[in-house]
Point group: C7
């Protein structure tokens, strides 16, 4: 069972807090817009989104920092995923 995102949507899987500490990355955030670190697990096709051409810049496996505010959380087979628009991804962590 898997999630196939539409348009410019990206499916993310949050990196557990333990791992985050190990890699030396701690994420802090504003009250209304908490940035989050996550791994990309599925990427929409992009194309025409709200009348604008969107090219997908992230790929499966990328570790990203995103703005959680507009994301939606979904649980599939006991795993929790977050679905965001690509524009809500701030940076790739390399």
């Amino acid at each position: 069972m898997k999630l196939v995102p539409l348009g410019d949507r990206v499916v993310l899987k949050q990196v557990a807090a333990e791992e985050t500490t190990k890699s030396g990355i701690i994420i802090t955030g504003e009250a209304k817009e908490k940035p989050q670190q996550a791994e990309v697990v599925a990427v929409g096709p992009g194309g025409s989104v709200d009348g604008k051409e969107v090219k997908m810049e992230v790929k499966v496996g990328d570790l990203v920092v995103y703005s959680k505010y507009a994301g939606n959380t979904v649980e599939v087979d006991d795993e929790e995923y977050i679905i965001v628009r690509q524009d809500e991804i701030l940076a790739i962590v390399k």
Copy 2:
């Protein structure tokens, strides 16, 4: 009696909570924007919507996760349906 959606509207039928548990999918959500799992029962023709060209990407029978916030609920012949814009559908569940 059936619903024929206009423009980029999509008619959804929510998958019952029992089925959801069986398939191993549990959906959680933010306070204001609860994602929901549902089956597509009718798809609008797309085309020019608010001056922008929209191509329909979902088809009847697709199982989808959607953002319930802007949806409208309608009951026809004792069945409850939700009408959303395609852009409010986050991903197809496969």
Copy 3:
């Protein structure tokens, strides 16, 4: 005496609650955006609306489900009508 809508406006006549029950259609709604069933009694010419080309997709006699939120109610010769933009019509009931 009749209402001739401008632009993408559509004049609707609500189907009485009694009829609704007979046809097996019951409409429920969100707090802020109550969907409603009604019959189309007049359709604007469409064309350029707010700088965008709108083609009218509904016709007189169509039974439609609409989002009541932005509609205006007018009473002419003891009949009550609702005037909505075509985009506020969600689906045609067939």
Copy 4:
């Protein structure tokens, strides 16, 4: 002394409540957007309004139903007028 509206503005003169009753038209409205019946007394030239081409569809003498919400009231020589954008006019009453 007269009002010459700019752009897509239209000057209206409300039809008195007495006349309304005589013609069999009673207007009801939502809390925030009260539709109103009025006669068109002056029509702006249309043309480019906020970067969009607007063609004026109403003419002096038309009886119209409008959405009062954004209108401005002006009194000239003891007569009260309402100035609305053409888009705030819902329908012509014929």
Copy 5:
């Protein structure tokens, strides 16, 4: 010392309440958007404003009715002026 407005801005000088009564014009208004009568004392060049081409339609000396809501008040050499966008001018009084 004088004010040279930029873009689609127009400098107005309010007509005193006394004059208004003499000319038989009394202006009433909504709580949030009070229309006002004033004389045009300076007109911006128009041209490209927020990516849209604006042609100035008012000229110095015009008596206008405007929507005060977004205007800014400035005092130069003991005279008070109001600076509005041309789009906030509703009609020319002739």
Copy 6:
């Protein structure tokens, strides 16, 4: 040390209250949008701003009246500056 503004940003230096009184200019304002008199000390290059072509119309040394609401205050070497978008400048004072 100096501020080089980006895009359509303009760096202003407020004219002290004392000077203002000497030149006979007193500025009053609305609660939310206080107009302010200031001197232009640096001008951005203009060009493409939010997808729109902006041509800079003010130059260093101009005395301007601006809408303070969206401005940001910065202190460099004990001098306080205000950074606004050109569109927030209402008029040049000559």
Copy 7:
């Protein structure tokens, strides 16, 4: 480990308060939009952002003043970074 920003995003590292005092720059701000001084540590590729072509004007090493309101804070390897859109950068400090 490093942050590679997407689109028109820019990664900033705030200049410590001590340094700020040494260089003679003190930054004050409005309640809702606090300008901040920071050094650019990474710059997105620009290109098509929300359907508009964005050209990056800042480069790594630039000292900038930015509007903090929409920024997101991220901590990588014990260093705190701020990710902003280029449009939220007000000026380069030279």
